[in-house]
């Protein structure tokens, strides 16, 4: 299909800085200029280098917990985390040195010492950042063994109909907790306990369905492992291609990637560059798309004489000709104005346009209305009368504009 869109977007690690001022620095010998406030991690991506990372993702504020993204900066002691260190003019940064390699391997060795070794049968196989990073840092051995204290026996929570939470695979990167706070604003997740016992907890360490979770999927979206995972992907496996589209539920019009396996949807992922939603979504668009293949779908045209009659399944041609002849008959008997049409706010612009054209040009009257009648027709009237346009005045993003005028 020519509609294909990359399955995985580039992850810049930290959000874009909006500063108009720029700084120029050197990363691994390459000069790069970025807006002031840009993290070293993001600047590195701009310069063409992906610094290893697990807790950072560009939809969330930097957190600095995984310690894989450490770098060396000339003239500075230690190994600052590139996600939380802003780029400064004149900095000379190295993202790959033997010492950094050793450090990253050391951290990965710790991660894997408390992680199941079931990559091949894991639902995230092929789409797991932990797996990727183990490869990137060249982890070859876990000298701690696997007999130490661990969470491998933690039980998965499958209470949510759309995704599972498997704490045995959790690396406590806090991405889910932060997404629930920063992206969704529900604060349904936290970490319970501390130290080695730190565990992602829905509300009061409850099953997700009993918690404050509203199933928006933001946590699932940012999870770098198989800890929070769509059940559809667990069942069907990883998608093989992706098509950009727009959610058909509410008036926000979220951009989505339909992640496909052949002609089957396996996941709807909110599109990062969708301007209405910027990578976020709600339970409906994210998960409630199964109706499209529901057994209740009627796939053959049907006709009947009276509503007390059984339906007759017929060909498209028969059905359409029947409808047309009925309409013509009614118009002949009761006048041109005795029929009409209703367009749907659920259908596309093109479809709505055609239905109103059908009414005006083929029915030869203006008896066309839309279900917007029963919701927003006063908006159209009121704003039309006062401002001259029957529509909202701003972009959604406008709400994020600071208060001062």
């Amino acid at each position: 299909m020519d509609n294909n869109y990359p399955l995985h977007d580039i992850d810049y690690g930290t959000p874009k800085s909006v500063s108009e001022k720029t700084v120029t620095l050197e990363i691994d010998g390459f000069e790069v200029t970025v807006p002031q406030g840009t993290s070293l991690m993001r600047a590195a991506v701009v310069a063409g280098t992906q610094i290893p990372k697990l807790c950072a993702t560009d939809s969330l504020e930097p957190f600095g917990s995984c310690r894989l993204c450490l770098v060396e900066i000339e003239g500075r002691k230690g190994f600052p985390a590139s996600c939380t260190t802003p780029a400064e003019a004149g900095m000379v940064v190295r993202t790959q040195t033997p010492h950094l390699a050793e450090l990253r391997r050391g951290v990965m060795e710790l991660y894997i010492s408390d992680h199941p070794l079931d990559c091949l049968t894991c639902a995230a196989n092929g789409d797991c950042e932990l797996q990727d990073m183990a490869g990137v840092v060249g982890l070859r051995d876990v000298r701690y063994g696997y007999q130490g204290l661990n969470h491998l026996k933690d039980q998965a929570d499958t209470s949510n109909p759309y995704f599972t939470y498997d704490p045995s695979k959790c690396i406590v990167c806090n991405r889910c907790v932060r997404a629930c706070e920063e992206t969704q604003g529900t604060f349904a997740l936290t970490i319970s306990g501390r130290g080695f016992e730190s565990r992602v907890s829905a509300s009061e360490s409850q099953p997700f369905m009993d918690s404050e979770c509203v199933s928006c999927g933001a946590c699932v979206n940012v999870c770098p492992t198989a800890t929070l995972m769509e059940k559809t992907v667990i069942e069907a496996g990883q998608p093989d291609h992706s098509v950009l589209t727009t959610c058909a539920y509410c008036g926000v019009g979220c951009g989505f990637k339909a992640d496909m396996k052949g002609s089957e949807v396996v996941r709807m992922t909110p599109w990062k560059d969708g301007k209405a939603n910027e990578g976020h979504a709600c339970i409906k668009g994210r998960f409630a798309w199964g109706y499209a293949t529901h057994k209740d779908r009627i796939l053959k045209p049907m006709i009947r004489k009276h509503i007390t009659d059984p339906w007759q399944e017929v060909s498209w041609e028969t059905a359409i000709n029947h409808a047309a002849s009925e309409f013509r008959r009614i118009q002949a008997e009761s006048g041109v104005d005795s029929i009409g049409g209703i367009t749907s706010s659920r259908c596309t612009n093109e479809e709505s346009y055609l239905v109103q054209k059908l009414v005006r040009a083929a029915f030869r009257n203006n008896n066309v209305d839309t279900c917007a009648r029963v919701c927003h027709s006063p908006t159209g009237y009121g704003l039309g009368q006062t401002y001259g346009t029957s529509a909202g005045t701003q972009t959604f993003k406008s709400v994020e504009k600071p208060t001062s005028s």
């Binding site: 957190f63 600095g64 310690r67 406590v172 130290g195």
Partner: protein
């Protein structure tokens, strides 16, 4: 005229029966029909002598200690009220070499005054620093702190004046002064002694900082293990407010400052400044990534001076005596004095305030009198649970941030914990990892998982001598990951005691010279 008798109420005295002693003294006095004026002072820091009872006789304070309730009757019998001798007699306390040989700038009033008496405080130079500060511009106050060379006493040793300056120069509608009184290091108790023994000094230091940087609210974050300090500080804030030293109009200056005492809830990491701020905000006390610095984005997102108790407690002296007097003490970049705390297996445990530069050996032998057990000293842990264990051979190192660091040591909060030769250093190393595992906030991976693995690896070394070499290597690699990779000192310094034990006492780790070298 009634006789003035002093019985400390510092918790180190209370824990060994000071209240019972005070009660016994009152009973005896009543029974004998003697009028006494019993003052509950604080401790002077000669803790092996607590409860240390003092009697004011002829312009001197004569001390007896350690006094038990049972010994009180004999003290009366012996005529201690007129300074007569007794087996527990210590003599004129101020002449005691332990005290006489100190350089007390911060602990100048400790044990002398009634900690909660505003009159007593002011009679002993109290609030002189504040009055001096009120006559200065904020920038001038900050300059005096800079000139004094005062460095943060919490362990990191960052110049206090630079912090203050940053806060002063950051514009905000609200700024804060936060006192880090989460003194969780084993072997340290100087903060506690300041708060219990001279709380107005800390309050005065906070007000000075507030005026200097433009903050009107202050918080004191005190660990929940210090109930007495919390009680005394709360009472002191109440009294200082009533006395016009706190509130909307400090001493009629038109400047405002309010103090809230907050109790911690059992988290060592909350002694790290950003975790402390999280905790004050009512959150999980996990460490924030820096930048931004608390001086710019601190408590509730506002510019915040966050200093240790001893740091702020030094401010009144600097302001009242001038920065030069203070800076004249010390050595190198470590200016002024540090209240050292002698703890663990030591004969004369207590608080010794000395200028930087004194050696550990001087502290332990000259002041501390060697081990309490009388057995040979084997190791001293300096700077709390994240501090290195030093063997006897390194005890002549001067106590100065840089000089100690050069020897792999950490001055930290100035606590020295002495161990005799019965100590098992592998067990001490294991404990360091265990403590980290118990207290890790869980945010960063090297600390969260590394501490648990560290404990396991050391257990392995202890249990399987044959594999000690390979595991010692793994332990060193882990320590390197923790040192270089951790987000805060909890993870990055836990390896200090571990590695120092491994380096100086390999025999305790089942290592031979050969396997030790290989690891």
């Amino acid at each position: 005229m009634s006789v003035k008798i002093y019985v400390p109420r510092d918790s180190a005295a209370l824990a060994v029966g000071a209240d019972e002693v005070a009660q016994a003294i009152e009973q005896q006095a009543t029974a004998r029909g003697i009028a006494i004026d019993l003052v509950r002072n604080s401790s002077r820091g000669l803790l092996w002598l607590e409860p240390l009872v003092e009697v004011a006789v002829g312009g001197q304070r004569l001390a007896y200690g350690p006094v038990t309730p049972e010994a009180v009757e004999s003290l009366f019998e012996a005529g201690f009220l007129t300074g007569k001798t007794h087996p527990l007699a210590v003599g004129p306390i101020e002449a005691h070499p332990y005290l006489k040989n100190q350089e007390r700038l911060t602990f100048v009033r400790a044990g002398i005054t009634d900690p909660l008496s505003l009159e007593d405080y002011q009679a002993h130079e109290g609030f002189a620093g504040l009055r001096a500060a009120l006559a200065l511009s904020p920038a001038d106050i900050v300059q005096q702190i800079l000139d004094s060379g005062l460095r943060g006493r919490g362990g990191a040793g960052f110049p206090a004046g630079i912090k203050w300056k940053t806060v002063l120069q950051t514009n905000a509608d609200q700024k804060y002064v936060v006192v880090n009184a989460d003194e969780g290091d084993s072997g340290t108790f100087a903060d506690r002694m300041v708060m219990e023994g001279d709380p107005f000094m800390l309050i005065e230091g906070m007000i000075i900082a507030g005026i200097a940087v433009g903050a009107t609210r202050g918080y004191v974050y005190i660990r929940s293990e210090y109930p007495d300090a919390i009680f005394v500080m709360e009472e002191a804030v109440r009294r200082a407010t009533t006395g016009g030293f706190l509130g909307k109009n400090i001493l009629g200056s038109g400047k405002a400052f309010h103090i809230v005492i907050r109790k911690a809830a059992g988290s060592y990491v909350c002694g790290e400044e950003t975790a402390l701020l999280e905790s004050l905000e009512g959150k999980r006390g996990i460490v924030r990534a820096k930048p931004p610095l608390p001086a710019i984005v601190g408590l509730f997102g506002k510019p915040t001076v966050i200093n240790n108790v001893l740091t702020l407690a030094a401010a009144p002296y600097i302001l009242s005596h001038g920065p030069k007097v203070y800076a004249d003490f010390g050595m190198g970049r470590s200016r002024g004095t540090l209240p050292f705390q002698l703890a663990g297996n030591i004969r004369h445990g207590g608080l010794v305030e000395k200028a930087f530069g004194v050696t550990a050996r001087q502290l332990i032998e000259d002041f501390g009198g060697g081990t309490e057990s009388g057995r040979p000293l084997r190791a001293v842990q300096i700077g709390g649970p994240l501090g290195a264990y030093l063997p006897d051979s390194l005890l002549d190192t001067p106590m100065d941030y840089e000089a100690l660091a050069a020897k792999g040591g950490v001055l930290g909060h100035g606590g020295l914990v002495v161990f005799d030769d019965t100590v098992d250093m592998a067990e001490q190393a294991r404990y360091a990892m265990e403590f980290c595992a118990i207290e890790s906030c869980g945010k960063c991976t090297p600390c969260r998982i590394g501490s648990t693995r560290g404990e396991e690896v050391i257990q392995h070394i202890q249990a399987k001598p044959a594999e000690a070499g390979a595991h010692a290597k793994l332990l060193r690699d882990l320590c390197s990951t923790m040192v270089n990779g951790s987000l805060c000192a909890m993870g990055s310094m836990t390896p200090y005691p571990v590695l120092s034990a491994l380096d100086h006492f390999p025999e305790d780790f089942n290592l031979t010279a050969e396997t030790h070298k290989a690891a």
